[in-house]
C-alpha cells in the first residue's frame, strides 16, 4: 500500500467520469432530504404568508434557490484541487474569523443571538456555519501535516489544532450561540479522536467538557428544566409542564401525526401556527405532524445513510487529511441532527441549531451542501 504524502493528483476528469464515480447514495440522500425540507418549509410558511398578504410560495422559492446554490457549491468544492484546498485552508480560517468578528460588531440580533450578517435583498449570512468548515479543514490540516502517518500526532500539533478551534468557539460564545458551540465541540472531539491522538487527550477534552458543563449548571447557564428534558427520554411520563411552550407545542404536533400523518398542508398544529420557528429549528415537528411516523422516520433514515457514507468515506480515504475532513463532517451532521431532532422530540435542550438540509436558512443549506462537497471530494480522491 502506498504510503505518505506524495502530492495527490488533481482530479481533472470529464463530467461523465465524475458522475459515474459520484457517491450516489450520499448525493441522493442529501437531495431527498433537501426536497422533503422544501416541502415542509412550504407547508409551514404558506399559511402565514397568505395571512400577511405576501406570496405564499416565497419561502419555498427562496429555499429552492438556496438548494440550487448549495448544490453548485458542493459540485464546485468536490472538484476543487485537493492541494489547493489545503493551501487555502489558512485563508478560509482567517476569513471565517473575520466574519465572526464582523457579526459581533455589525450583526443582526435574531432570537437573542447576534449571529447574522444582513445582506441586501433580504438575505442574511451566518458566519458560524462557515466557521465549522474552516475548523474542520484547519484541524485536519494541522493534524495530518509534518508527520509520519505511523506516528501519533505530536502533542504540540494537538494543542495547535485545539487552538485553531478555540478562537472561533470563543467568538461564537460571545454571540452567544450555545448550540453551535456544542456542535463544534463535538466536531473537535471527533477529529482529535480519529487523528490517533493519545487517549489522554480525549480523556482530557471529555473531562474539560464535563467541567465546563458542571460550571455552566452551577452558575445557572443551563437551567434545571433543560436537564429535566435531557432525562425525559428515560422516562416518557416526566412532567411536560416545565418543558416550555415551544417544545410543548412541537410535541403535540409530532404526537398527533400517527403512522402516516395528517398530510402535507393539513396539520392543525402546523397550519394554526402553534409551533413557533417551525420552518427553521422546529421544521421536524411539521414532518412529525403532517408526514407522520413514516415521513419523520424517513428523515432519520436519510440522515443515517449520509452518515454511513461519510464514515465509509472516512475509512477509505486515501490520506489522513481526507479521513479527518470526512470525520469532521460526519460528527458535525451526526451531532447537529441528533440535537435538532432530539429537541423536537423533547429529549434534548432547546439550543437553536438547524436540521441539516431540511431547515429553512441559506447559510445552513450552503454549509450542509459544502459538507457534502467535501465528502465527495475525499471520496473521489480515494478512488484514484
Amino acid at each position: 500500500m502506498t504510503v505518505g504524502y506524495a502530492a495527490p493528483p488533481v482530479v481533472r476528469r470529464g463530467s461523465s467520469a465524475y458522475l459515474r464515480r459520484l457517491d450516489w447514495v450520499l448525493f441522493g440522500s442529501a437531495l431527498a432530504l433537501s426536497v422533503i425540507g422544501s416541502l415542509l418549509v412550504w407547508s409551514a410558511t404558506q399559511g402565514k404568508l397568505l395571512e400577511q398578504g405576501l406570496d405564499p410560495q416565497s419561502f419555498l422559492k427562496k429555499n429552492l434557490l438556496n438548494l440550487v446554490v448549495g448544490i453548485a457549491f458542493a459540485v464546485l468544492i468536490s472538484r476543487f484541487d485537493y492541494r489547493l484546498l489545503r493551501a487555502y485552508t489558512p485563508i478560509l480560517w482567517g476569513l471565517s474569523i473575520l466574519g465572526l468578528l464582523f457579526v459581533l460588531v455589525h450583526g443582526s440580533r435574531i432570537n437573542g443571538a447576534k449571529a447574522w450578517i444582513s445582506l441586501p435583498a433580504g438575505l442574511s449570512l451566518q458566519p458560524a456555519e462557515f466557521a465549522k468548515i474552516a475548523i474542520i479543514l484547519g484541524m485536519a490540516m494541522i493534524l495530518s501535516e509534518k508527520r509520519d502517518a505511523e506516528n501519533e500526532p505530536r502533542d504540540v500539533d494537538v494543542a495547535f489544532a485545539l487552538g485553531v478551534a478555540a478562537i472561533p468557539i470563543a467568538l461564537i460564545l460571545l454571540q452567544p450561540d450555545l448550540g453551535t458551540v456544542m456542535v463544534i465541540a463535538t466536531i473537535v472531539f471527533g477529529i482529535i479522536a480519529v487523528s490517533g491522538a493519545r487517549a489522554r487527550w480525549l480523556v482530557g477534552i471529555l473531562a474539560g467538557g464535563v467541567l465546563v458543563a458542571f460550571v455552566a449548571i452551577q452558575v445557572g447557564i443551563l437551567k434545571q428544566y433543560q436537564l429535566d428534558r435531557l432525562t425525559a427520554f428515560t422516562d416518557p411520563n416526566v412532567n411536560t409542564q416545565t418543558s416550555g411552550y415551544n417544545t410543548q407545542q412541537a410535541r403535540i404536533a409530532i404526537g398527533s401525526g400517527g403512522l402516516f400523518g395528517t398530510g402535507l398542508f393539513h396539520g392543525p398544529q402546523t397550519q394554526g401556527h402553534f409551533v413557533p420557528e417551525n420552518q427553521t429549528d422546529f421544521v421536524y415537528s411539521v414532518a412529525g405532524e403532517e408526514l407522520g411516523f413514516v415521513g419523520a422516520a424517513l428523515i432519520i433514515l436519510l440522515l443515517g445513510l449520509i452518515l454511513w457514507r461519510a464514515i465509509v468515506i472516512a475509512l477509505r480515504a486515501s490520506d489522513l487529511f481526507g479521513r479527518l475532513v470526512a470525520t469532521g463532517v460526519a460528527t458535525w451532521i451526526a451531532f447537529q441532527s441528533f440535537e435538532n431532532i432530539g429537541m423536537n422530540l423533547g429529549i434534548m435542550p432547546v439550543t437553536g441549531v438547524p436540521l441539516p438540509f431540511v431547515s429553512y436558512g441559506g447559510t445552513s443549506m450552503f454549509a450542509s451542501w459544502l459538507a457534502i462537497g467535501l465528502l465527495i471530494n475525499v471520496h473521489l480522491r480515494a478512488q484514484e
Partner: protein, 662 residues
C-alpha cells in the same frame, strides 16, 4: 497507509447508530404510543367552546299576558385582543371608556380580569364569563352615553355595545306574583360540573317557583360556538356554530285580574287587621278552580319585588328577604307555610261524625264548655246555643258539639286501647281530603303539614322521651328562677309525658276535631279540600302550569296530576254544602258578606286558630258560586284576629272579582 483511528471511527459509527436508534424509538413512542393523548391536547389547545344561552321562555297568564318575560340592558364590551394589543394592557382605553360613561375606572378595570386568575379582584368585580367573548366592561349603562361613546370615531374599534338579556317582570295590573314565578340565579360550581357542559358559570337557572319547577323547558337548549384560538388565547375564527334553541313559553292558569284582586285584598286585609291592633305578620290567599285544580291566583304576604334578583342579588337584599324579623318575604306561604286549620276543619269533622254514626237529622248540645277527664274545653268566647242541628253547629261554629262527637267516637274506637288510626273517622276523613300530605302542586318547596294522629304521637314520643324523662327528674331550674309555679307545672307535664306521652287521649281527639292542637295545614291543602267538598268528593292535584308553547307555536299541555275520588257519603256532603252556605247567609261570615250580590252565592267556613303565645290565626275557606261551584278561595292571616273579622272580608273582595268573570 496505516489506519490511525480506524477503531475510533468504528466507535463513532456505533455511537451514531445508537443515537439515531434512540431518536427513531422516541419518535415511534410519540407518534404511535402517545398519539391519542396528544391529539386531545392539541384539540384542547387550539379551540374553545362558547356556550350561548338560549332566550328563556316567558311565563304567561291564562290569557297569554306575560308575567315574566325578557328584557335587555345595554353593556359596553371590549375585545380581549384589543387589550392585549395595547401597550399599557388597555389601561388608557378603559380609563377613556370609564370617563365617557361616568363610571369609576376601578369597576371597569376589574372586569378585564377573569375570575380566578392571578391578580383578579374577587367576585363580582371580576369577569365570571367565558374568556373568549368580548368582556362586558359595564352593563346596565345609560344607552345614550354608551351610543355616544361607540359612535365617536376616536373610540377604539374594539369597544362595542351589546345587549344582555335579563328577566323582566311586566307586572300587568300591578300583579307581583313573586312567590309563584320564583326567580333565576347563577348555578353553583357543583351544578356547573354536574351539567356536563349544559351550564356555565354565567348561566342562569330557575331557583324557586315556576322558574325552578319548569326550568328545563323554560331554559331551552344553549347554543355552542367552537372558536379557534391563537397561542395567546385570542379568538381567530369561528369553527362551528350550533344556534341555541329558545326556551318554551309557559302558559299558567293564573288570571291576572284575579291575581291582582287577590294580592290587593290580602294586603288590604292585613292592613285592616293591623288597624284593629292585631299583629297580622303574614298571610296568604289563593284561588283554585274546583273542577280542575288549576291555581287561578296565589298571593303570599309579605312579598318582594322579583327584580331584586336581576343581575345578581346583593347580600343585604338577600338578608332582608330571608329575615324572620322581616316576615321572611321569600317564603311562598300558600304552599310552604302551615297553620292550625281551626274551625275550617269542621267541614272534615262533620263528615267524620256522620261516618262514625251520628245522624244528620239529630240535634246536638252546644254548652259553653265541655269536660273530658280533668280538662275543660271551652267554646270560643264561652258561647252557648242549647241543642242545635249539625248545620247550626257549623253555622255558629260550636266547638262543644264537635268535642262531644269526637269524644264519643274516641270511646267507640276503644279509647286508649286503640293503637291504630285505621278506624278513626276523623283521621281517615282528614287524610282522604288530602291533609297531612303533599298536594303535588307544580311548585317547589311545598310543605306536607301535619295530622297529629296516634302514629304521629308515638313517633314524637319516641323521639323526645329521653329528654322528657330527664326533665321529669331534674325539672326546669332555669324557669324556676323566675316562675316557680310554671316550672312545677312543666315538670309535672314532663313526668306525665315521659310515662304516657304516646297515648292518643280523648282530649287529643277533641282538639283534632276542631283543627287545633298540633294539626298544621297549608293554605293550598285547605283550598283543595274545600274544592273537593264543592265538587262532590273529587280530590284534585293543584296545577299552575297549563301548557308550553314552543318557538314555532306548538302547544304542549302540562301533564295533569292525579284526580282521586273520595269515598264520601253523598248525603253528608250535600248537608255540609248547605251548612257552609248558611255560614255566609246567617252564620259567622254573615257580617263579612252582608250586601254581597246574591247572583254570586258563596259557601265557606271561618276559622280562628289559637297559637300558644301569639295572636289567633284568621281563616276563611270558601267556594263559589254555591249552586254550581267554580272557585275555591282560601284566605289565612297569621295573628290576624278572628276569621270572620280578618279573613272573610278578604275572601269577599276576591269573590267580587271572580263574580265579574262570569
Amino acid at each position: 497507509m496505516r489506519q490511525p483511528g480506524r477503531g475510533r471511527l468504528a466507535a463513532l459509527a456505533v455511537t451514531v447508530l445508537a443515537l439515531f436508534v434512540a431518536l427513531a424509538t422516541r419518535l415511534g413512542q410519540m407518534e404511535l404510543g402517545e398519539q391519542a393523548s396528544s391529539v386531545q391536547a392539541a384539540d384542547a389547545a387550539r379551540t374553545a367552546t362558547i356556550v350561548v344561552p338560549a332566550v328563556r321562555g316567558r311565563i304567561l297568564d291564562r290569557r297569554g299576558i306575560p308575567l315574566a318575560s325578557n328584557g335587555s340592558v345595554v353593556a359596553v364590551t371590549v375585545e380581549r385582543a384589543t387589550l392585549l394589543a395595547a401597550k399599557d394592557g388597555g389601561r388608557s382605553l378603559v380609563t377613556a371608556v370609564a370617563r365617557a360613561l361616568g363610571l369609576p375606572f376601578e369597576r371597569l378595570w376589574g372586569r378585564t380580569s377573569l375570575c380566578g386568575t392571578t391578580g383578579a379582584p374577587p367576585q363580582p368585580a371580576c369577569w365570571n364569563g367565558s374568556p373568549y367573548v368580548p368582556i362586558p366592561l359595564a352593563d346596565g349603562v345609560d344607552p345614550a352615553r354608551a351610543l355616544a361613546l361607540v359612535e365617536n370615531p376616536a373610540t377604539d374599534p374594539g369597544i362595542a355595545l351589546a345587549t344582555e338579556p335579563v328577566r323582566a317582570y311586566p307586572a300587568p295590573d300591578g300583579v307581583n306574583l313573586a312567590h309563584v314565578l320564583g326567580y333565576i340565579a347563577r348555578p353553583t360550581r357543583a351544578e356547573v360540573t354536574a351539567s356536563r357542559g349544559a351550564l356555565t358559570d354565567d348561566s342562569l337557572i330557575g331557583r324557586a317557583g315556576l322558574e325552578e319547577e319548569y326550568d328545563a323547558q323554560l331554559r331551552g337548549t344553549p347554543g355552542r360556538i367552537v372558536v379557534a384560538l391563537d397561542p395567546r388565547g385570542v379568538v381567530t375564527r369561528e369553527i362551528s356554530r350550533v344556534d341555541p334553541v329558545p326556551g318554551r313559553d309557559l302558559v299558567t292558569s293564573i288570571d291576572v285580574r284575579v291575581q291582582a284582586a287577590t294580592e290587593k285584598a290580602l294586603a288590604a286585609g292585613i292592613a285592616a287587621a293591623r288597624r284593629r291592633g292585631e299583629a297580622a305578620d303574614s298571610g296568604s290567599a289563593l284561588v283554585l278552580d274546583t273542577r280542575t285544580g288549576a291555581v287561578v291566583a296565589s298571593a303570599s304576604w309579605p312579598t318582594y319585588d322579583p327584580s331584586v334578583w336581576t343581575g345578581g342579588i346583593s347580600s343585604a337584599d338577600y338578608a332582608r328577604l330571608t329575615s324572620p324579623a322581616n316576615g321572611t318575604p321569600l317564603l311562598p306561604r300558600a304552599v310552604a307555610a302551615t297553620y292550625p286549620p281551626a274551625s275550617t276543619f269542621k267541614a272534615i269533622s262533620l263528615q267524620a261524625a256522620v261516618a262514625a254514626g251520628s245522624p244528620l237529622g239529630g240535634t246536638y248540645s252546644c254548652p259553653p264548655s265541655y269536660t273530658i277527664g280533668n280538662r275543660v274545653f271551652h267554646n270560643f268566647e264561652g258561647e252557648q246555643f242549647g241543642r242545635i242541628s249539625l248545620q247550626q253547629a257549623i253555622e255558629v261554629s260550636c266547638d262543644t258539639v264537635f268535642y262531644d262527637l269526637a269524644y264519643r267516637s274516641w270511646q267507640a274506637q276503644g279509647g286508649l286501647a286503640a293503637t291504630t288510626d285505621a278506624r278513626d273517622p276523623f283521621v281517615r276523613t282528614a287524610r282522604a281530603f288530602g291533609l297531612g300530605r303533599l298536594t303535588g302542586i307544580d311548585l317547589p318547596g311545598e310543605s306536607a303539614g301535619r295530622l297529629p294522629d296516634r302514629a304521629w304521637k308515638r313517633a314524637t314520643w319516641e323521639a323526645t322521651k329521653a329528654d322528657l324523662c330527664t326533665r321529669a327528674q331534674t325539672g326546669y331550674p332555669d324557669v324556676a328562677r323566675t316562675d316557680r309555679a310554671r316550672a312545677a307545672y312543666l315538670k309535672q307535664l314532663a313526668a306525665e309525658n315521659c310515662a304516657t306521652g304516646f297515648q292518643f287521649r280523648a282530649g287529643d281527639e277533641a282538639n283534632f276535631a276542631i283543627g287545633q292542637g298540633d294539626t298544621a295545614v297549608t293554605p293550598i291543602q285547605m283550598a283543595r279540600a274545600y274544592a273537593a267538598v264543592a265538587n262532590g268528593g273529587t280530590l284534585l292535584t293543584p296545577r299552575v302550569g297549563v301548557a308550553f308553547i314552543g318557538p314555532s307555536g306548538v302547544r304542549t299541555a302540562v301533564a295533569p296530576g292525579p284526580r282521586t275520588r273520595i269515598a264520601v257519603d253523598a248525603a253528608a256532603v250535600a248537608y255540609l254544602q248547605n251548612a257552609l252556605r248558611s255560614v255566609v247567609t246567617g252564620g259567622t261570615a254573615e257580617g263579612a258578606f252582608a250586601g254581597f250580590p246574591g247572583d254570586w252565592p258563596v259557601s265557606g267556613k271561618t276559622g280562628t286558630g289559637e297559637v300558644f303565645g301569639e295572636g289567633t290565626t284568621a281563616w276563611f275557606v270558601s267556594y263559589a258560586p254555591s249552586t254550581a261551584p267554580r272557585y275555591a278561595v282560601a284566605v289565612v292571616i297569621s295573628q290576624g284576629g278572628t276569621g270572620a273579622a280578618a279573613a272573610a272580608p278578604v275572601s269577599r273582595q276576591i269573590n267580587a272579582t271572580l263574580r265579574t268573570l262570569h
